[in-house]
């Protein structure tokens, strides 16, 4: 049972959290202006990275806040967590 660091609450057990998929995939400004293919990329396509991956997480059985995290998908290690209004960290 991993501990996940909520930026608002501190480290909590992983069962309190839910996963929200890839981070930094904003809702398009003008969906009507997109081609079917561009729209399908927004709806259906996500990266499947091995290694460092920027993800959305929700402290759903806690403060219920969403936040972003850089997590290594191979080791499960959370390298850092950051607020939604923080820019995506530059990772080496």
């Amino acid at each position: 049972m991993q501990l996940i660091e909520c930026p608002w609450c501190g480290p909590r057990e992983e069962v309190e959290f839910s996963y929200g998929g890839q981070a930094h995939v904003p809702y398009p400004d003008d969906p009507g202006g997109l081609s079917d293919e561009e729209w399908a990329h927004y709806v259906f396509f996500r990266d499947n990275t091995k290694g460092r991956f920027a993800e959305r997480w929700n402290h759903s059985i806690g403060c219920r806040r969403w936040f972003n995290a850089i997590r290594d998908t191979a080791t499960y290690r959370f390298e850092r967590v950051y607020r939604l209004d923080d820019p995506k960290p530059v990772t080496p």
């Binding site: 709806v43 759903s60 969403w66 499960y76």
Partner: protein
Amino acid sequence: MTSTSRTAEGGRIDRATTLEFTFDGQPFTGHPGDTLASALLASGRHQIATSIKLGRPRGVAAAWAEDPGSLVQIEEPFPEPMLLATTVELYDGLAAHGLPGQGRLAEVPDSARYDAVHHHVDLLVVGAGPAGLAAALTAARAGARVAVVDEQSEAGGSLLSGTERLDGAPALQWVAAAVAELAEHPEVLHLQRTTAFGSYEDGFVLALERRTDHLGATAPKHLARQRVWRFRARSIVVATGAHERPVVFTDNDRPGIMLAGAARTFLHRYGVLPGREAVVFTTNDSAYDAALDLHRVGVCVQAVVDARPEGSARREECERAGIRVLPGAVVTGTQGVDRVTHALVAPFVDGEVGAGSAIACDLLLVSGGWNPAVHLFSQARGRLRYDEGLGAFLPGEELDGLSVTGSATGVSDLGGCLAHGQRVARAALAALAITPAGDDRLPAAPEAVVPTAPLVLWRVPDSSGAEGSTQFVDLQRDATVADIARAVGAGLRSIEHIKRYTTIGTAHDQGKTSGVLTSGITAELLGIPVQDTGTTTFRPPYTPVAFAALAGRDRGRLFDPERVTALHEWHVAAGAVFEDVGQWKRPRYYPQPGEDMEAAVLRECAAARTGVGILDGSTLGKIDVQGPDAAVLLDRLYTNLISSLKVGSVRYGVMCGVDGMVIDDGTVLRLAEDRFLVLTTTGGAAKILDWMEEWVQTEWPDLRVHCTSVTEQWVTFPVVGPRSRDVIGAVFPDVDVSNEAFPFMTWRDTTLEGVPVRLARISFSGELAFEVYVNPWYAVAVWERLLEAGRPYGITPYGTETMHVLRAEKGYPIIGQDTDGTVTPQDLGMGWAVSKKKPDFVGKRSFARPANQDPLRKQLVGLLPTDRQTVLPEGSQIVEFFPDGQLPPPPVPMLGHVTSSYRSAELARPFALALVKGGRERIGDTVHVPVNGTLVPVEVTGSVLVDPEGARRDG
């Protein structure tokens, strides 16, 4: 049976007290402090069971959890299968028998209690042997919060099995002092009979405490029998010791063959003489202690057979005692049936076995070296390193927050273990910024004697002609060297594949003695280094854990929360039959005497359609959405326009995912310019609140809006049917209930004797209906007022089954029953609920995708079986005949499936809803539904079968 093999004195047993027990139906005695195995050995009984496949006699081969031989079933006081006689503490009245590999679960419910405790510490020390105690004392003296767990009945670890001395006194005196000192520290938790069985991420360790197992029938009922400790440790010290490793030779499985260290344990801890005439076969110096200790208590040690060409520097010590030492020799085989009678001993030169002779013995001790118990380290993803000199896998890297100490790291001398434990604890404390205490003295251990280098020997070549087929590697699986050779011959190279092919390491003991042997023998057969074969993955649990213990208190009614409405007791008293809707208990129907469900539901439906019915709809999800931008948020999430809704009015709405598929539906009440009450399905309540919060937080943080669940703040009672107006008018005389003053899809607030009540003209049945909302504290009172006022009209409480029939007759879908995540509003015939005016809302862009424009999409339609009899099973497939009356050849194309199906009182026939390809184009057609092997013709209809004009909603 008398204790023929008990020493005259010594051991950690209470000789003044005698315990009676039975084994395989025969009476035996023992003492407190015994295990079942030690008591049987004390009576001269070595065979415990027969083996799983070959039926060979098997006995006690080790003294604790690594024993592959002594599998037993306990019958009294409560049946429990698959225990090791070596780990069962003896108690009065125990009844057990040996098991040939498989046990039998109890046929009566387990009445014992099990529980769990969470515990947070700075340092968790696993193992209370010398290294573990040294680490625990160091941390305790520093004022750290410490937990020490140990699987034995008392602390001491390997010191319980020997004669070591510390500070010039028996080492167990120091153990007692250490335990007493730990007890003085208020921040130290010390648990014996507690096995740490799994280590996970971030210092999480699970341990099983056996609290009353050793008490037998006298166990207090109020105590949990076993407890799972859920430790969260900032740092973990693993001091789990080492398991002795056997050497494999021909017929190495007979009762009377045991590990050399185990014989010392039986002698020193339990006062048991495991034999009269012993042969000791070893590759290292540790077995010399066993030979000398047994000799001292009068066992005739026939020979020490040492595989090392030069033998040991301790040879002289033995010979002074009159023990013959045979260096450069091995045991090549044994004789005996239910007990070993002879060891076959032969010279061993350059890997070749010479001509041998038989030495009589009733005890054959074996030592092939020691395997550090690295299980918890490996479970925590620590990498192992093979040590050529020891022939063992050791921790091969430093882990954050987990360190290994003592003989679990390959340290073998007592002083070394104590110093190592202290050093590791100090390093762990330093990493936690905890300062060690100034006075941190360890006892003085005798100077370590450097042992003669061990020989790494996995197996003795088979000179019997049996080609390894009786050279047992995993006794519990009856798996042999021949089986490994067969696996390698079949082309397997990976140790994981060989494990699964041979089943080695998959039994009760999970390969504690057989795992590393398998790696060594495999490497030998493949001609590669042992480091390259590696080990199989160590996985929790370290020793078996009963499901009952893992379940703890979360059984029966406590397995999952039960949610009940404020009217639950009323429903129970009214004889409701309940169904589970998520975690909710909802009345399904209210049978009257003699009624089955069908009769009850037909009666309830008829009441709602012709008179008045009442439902407890309190489980409906309710979300209070507030803020200046509340309407903006709802416009973006619903397919239809919400912002144009007037205060006091209600609108039905549909929500979709970005893919355009329906995720929920319900009604929205506008309470104020900046406040809405959103009603969701019972099952969708939590999901829709999550959905709203996700969009607000992640995409539209600029919106000034807040959402909160108020599901449990309001009970909801739909009063349904043509006479509902009379009932509501009577109970709430202040409210003008006429259609003009209180039209459909509006709501009004009122009070009932000062209690605020909200009424809404919402209908999920198509009938005139009023929903009554009130604080749950007043639920019973208001419900009873409504029943009282409805009595003249035969008001009838109805359950979810009737609710489903009424809504299905009107073609109202249940999201999640009539939809499955691939259904759009248009598929449901709800294009009218999709705004054309709004520039965007979630899902809108997807409606234009070609796949969502396909005229052959599955659409919601009604089905009427033409026999007016058959209730189509929900989930049934729908097929059609060719125009010539023939079925298409298999596979017959499936047009869709039945999603809801009921018998209708109103229609006086069964009907169904279904998703059918191009369904709306097929209205009027006849298709077929296979039911119990026959094809039932059904007519495709519109989805609204009752009152399609909507004439009834105003009464």
